[in-house]
């Protein structure tokens, strides 16, 4: 029996009304075919390409174009985007708010990206704040948070959180990827702040659906920072118990809310951390290494198997 036959059977048994069955049959046999996901995908790719193209143009032709042209063009673009969003956007609500149209979310994201580009260009060329230039990032963070909550936009919230990470010193530039002690502590501080913000806003019932974004940022920053600590100090530091605690908390939360992505994070980060310590303790002896990986992988499989059986009805 396929879906269409089953739907017809349910209609015959009066478990589905005829209107419902008609709609579902139309969907199943693709007489109604929604292309919304595809349109959104290409709209977003288009916006990302525009941002990339604009950035490359500024980088390559800033001498020919001149500061005035670049700054005014970028300002005009982000101002127009913000004006559009304030004019067209729906009123603020604590819960989820649907976008007024398909392009709305991306226009706001476009405006934020152009604002960042504009501010970055002005600061790189004129050094208005000198040594304190990083405070621009904090202003951007505040603006992006405001816009993300005002217009219920996940993309802008991600932008805000990654800009906040940049303020803490984490950027995509290669030389910043070293997890030295300085950055490790900042990463932990960042993760805790993000986590507290997310949980607080969730608790006071403001845009509860944003919690996952906060948790993802916090989980990765915290676990990577703690892992780097474990790599450096092995078992002789607070990093190891802290990592275990963080992973246990992630797994517990995951099981509570039945969002198993966090189990994945907890197991992977936890296993890497424990493996670093154990491999160090057995002094990299080949035989014990193999035995360790055989035994632990079986243990993890057994553990996940038990967990998956517990949530069988959810699968």
């Amino acid at each position: 029996m396929n879906t269409a036959k089953l739907l017809r059977k349910l209609r015959y048994e009066k478990k589905l009304n005829s209107g419902q069955a008609e709609l579902l049959l139309n969907l199943q046999e693709r007489r109604i075919f929604s292309v919304l996901r595809e349109l959104r995908f290409f709209l977003y790719i288009g916006i990302l390409l525009i941002i990339t193209g604009a950035g490359l143009t500024v980088k390559q032709y800033f001498i020919n174009l001149g500061d005035a042209a670049i700054i005014s063009a970028l300002t005009l673009c982000f101002a127009a985007a913000f004006v559009y969003c304030f004019a067209q956007g729906r009123s603020y609500e604590r819960g989820e708010v649907a976008s007024p149209n398909i392009a709305f979310d991306y226009i706001l994201f476009f405006g934020c990206a152009f604002y960042s580009m504009d501010v970055a260009y002005i600061e790189t060329q004129y050094h208005l704040l000198g040594e304190l230039w990083e405070n621009y990032l904090l202003i951007s963070v505040a603006l992006f948070f405001f816009l993300a909550y005002r217009f219920d936009n996940r993309l802008v919230l991600s932008l805000a959180l990654s800009t906040l990470a940049a303020w803490f010193g984490f950027t995509l530039s290669a030389h910043r990827f070293y997890f030295e002690n300085y950055y490790r502590l900042y990463a932990i501080a960042y993760a805790l702040i993000v986590f507290c913000c997310g949980v607080l806003l969730y608790r006071i019932d403001i845009k509860k659906h944003f919690l996952d974004i906060y948790l993802n940022f916090a989980a990765h920053f915290l676990c990577i920072a703690l892992l780097s600590g474990v790599t450096e100090y092995k078992i002789l530091s607070l990093y190891f118990p802290a990592l275990l605690l963080a992973c246990a908390a992630l797994a517990f939360y995951s099981v509570q809310v039945r969002k198993f992505l966090y189990v994945l994070y907890a197991v992977i980060y936890g296993y890497i951390g424990i493996s670093i310590v154990i491999v160090d303790q057995i002094h990299r002896q080949t035989f014990f290494l193999f035995i360790y990986f055989i035994v632990t992988s079986m243990l993890v499989i057994g553990l996940i198997f038990k967990l998956s059986r517990r949530f069988k009805e959810n699968q």
Partner: protein, 402 residues
């Protein structure tokens, strides 16, 4: 004994349940109606969710790899033939274990049996490769035989277990073979193109209208992979595009110069025809994945068009492509929304089926990476002053002090 591991009705029931869960999420059916559907679609196969599946896969691979490693470390074989035979034996053992788990315990997309099968495939091919290399096969012959063997074993796994990635591995392995015959670049491409087209035709012939829905869905994905492979074969500028992205100036025009003009311009025409055909076919047959692949290929065609024609590339080219994409998306949305019941020819831009929420989406990740990209695109501080020094901006190299 059936050739396929799982009863088709069971797989069909799983497919039906996936659909009905999407309907429930989108509020199209009630909880009671979902239960009624579930009563009609009994599933005996043992499944798990995506994240557990990933964990099972990773840790089974790790454990199985460690077992093989420990065995070879303990026995310290020196003879290559024995190593090869042992690898094949391990491959066979893992395969039997996977069959046992899938047959006896009804593991279905569970991660464990998948990892065992993948390990079996890799070990078997590696063992055969060593065995053949020790038995007077030249390196060139080996480069043909091993991918062929990998393609066959992966194809077997796909047919038996229905793992789509096995079909993908089979296609990729097969695509390596034409490049091992020391043919001219044009002949290599023509051979690969022919092989892919033959497989594509077979997939079309197998995709009959009376098939089960899950099988139709599976064929659509394979056809999308094959269409992509055919497109990558005909587009001679793809390598150049990679060179452009990686800023490797030498790679930008490296490959296409090796082709005779007739092949070069034929490939140029095909870079337009393949996406157009894919989009048309996708729309006609309502295959979502084919439409998406067709549009992505069309974008790549636009991105490589200037390279084909030898035109100068500019920094704003991505922005123009972006504007085209945004414009087209908006025009299509508007056009669909202005139809009767916001629909035209059955297509709609309305949100009917709500996607499953996975916590964080690739779109969120891309947005999070944007500040980093903007930072890397900033011109260096004080570059303007540097530019006007030394006369690099003009003035015949005359400096201020002159």
């Amino acid at each position: 004994m059936m050739f396929v591991m799982y009863p088709p009705q069971q797989e069909e029931n799983i497919y039906i349940r996936q659909q009905t869960q999407a309907w429930r999420r989108s509020g199209l059916i009630t909880e009671e109606q979902l239960s009624a559907i579930n009563e009609h679609t009994d599933i005996q196969l043992r499944r798990t969710n995506l994240f557990f599946r990933l964990l099972f896969f990773v840790f089974t691979m790790l454990g199985a790899g460690a077992v093989v490693g420990l065995f070879f470390w303990l026995l310290d074989f020196k003879d290559a033939d024995i190593i090869a035979v042992m690898l094949i034996c391990f491959g066979a053992a893992f395969y039997i274990a996977a069959e046992y788990l899938a047959g006896k315990y009804l593991f279905y997309r569970h991660g464990v049996e998948e990892a065992l099968v993948v390990m079996a495939m890799v070990l078997f091919c590696a063992g055969c490769g060593i065995l053949l290399s020790e038995n007077h096969l030249t390196l060139t012959q080996l480069r043909i035989v091993v991918p062929a063997l990998l393609a066959i074993t992966a194809c077997w796994i796909y047919l038996r277990f229905g793992f789509l990635y096995a079909a993908g591995i089979s296609i990729v392995a097969l695509s390596f073979i034409p490049f091992q015959f020391n043919l001219s670049p044009a002949a290599e491409r023509i051979m690969l193109f022919s092989v892919l087209c033959v497989i594509f035709v077979f997939s079309l012939l197998a995709d009959k209208p009376d098939l089960e829905d899950f099988r139709k869905n599976r064929y659509a994905k394979i056809q999308a992979c094959l269409t992509t492979a055919i497109y990558l074969t005909v587009n001679l500028q793809i390598m150049g595009l990679f060179g452009l992205i990686s800023m490797d100036r030498h790679a930008v025009h490296l490959n296409p110069q090796l082709f005779p003009p007739s092949i070069y311009w034929l490939s140029y025409v095909l870079t337009f025809l393949v996406p157009i055909a894919a989009i048309y076919w996708g729309i006609k047959s309502r295959k979502r994945i084919i439409i998406t692949v067709g549009i992505v290929m069309a974008c790549v065609t636009l991105a490589t068009n200037k390279s084909y024609l030898g035109w100068t590339r500019y920094a704003w080219d991505p922005a123009i492509l972006g504007i085209i994409l945004v414009g087209l998306s908006l025009i299509i949305t508007r056009w669909l929304n202005s139809g009767v019941d916001q629909r035209r020819f059955g297509f709609t831009a309305r949100n009917i089926l709500k996607p499953e929420e996975g916590g964080i989406t690739p779109a969120d990740v891309a947005a999070a990476l944007t500040p980093g990209v903007i930072e890397t695109q900033q011109p260096p501080a004080g570059a303007q002053e540097q530019y006007f020094k030394g006369g690099s901006s003009g003035g015949g190299g005359v400096e201020g002090k002159f």
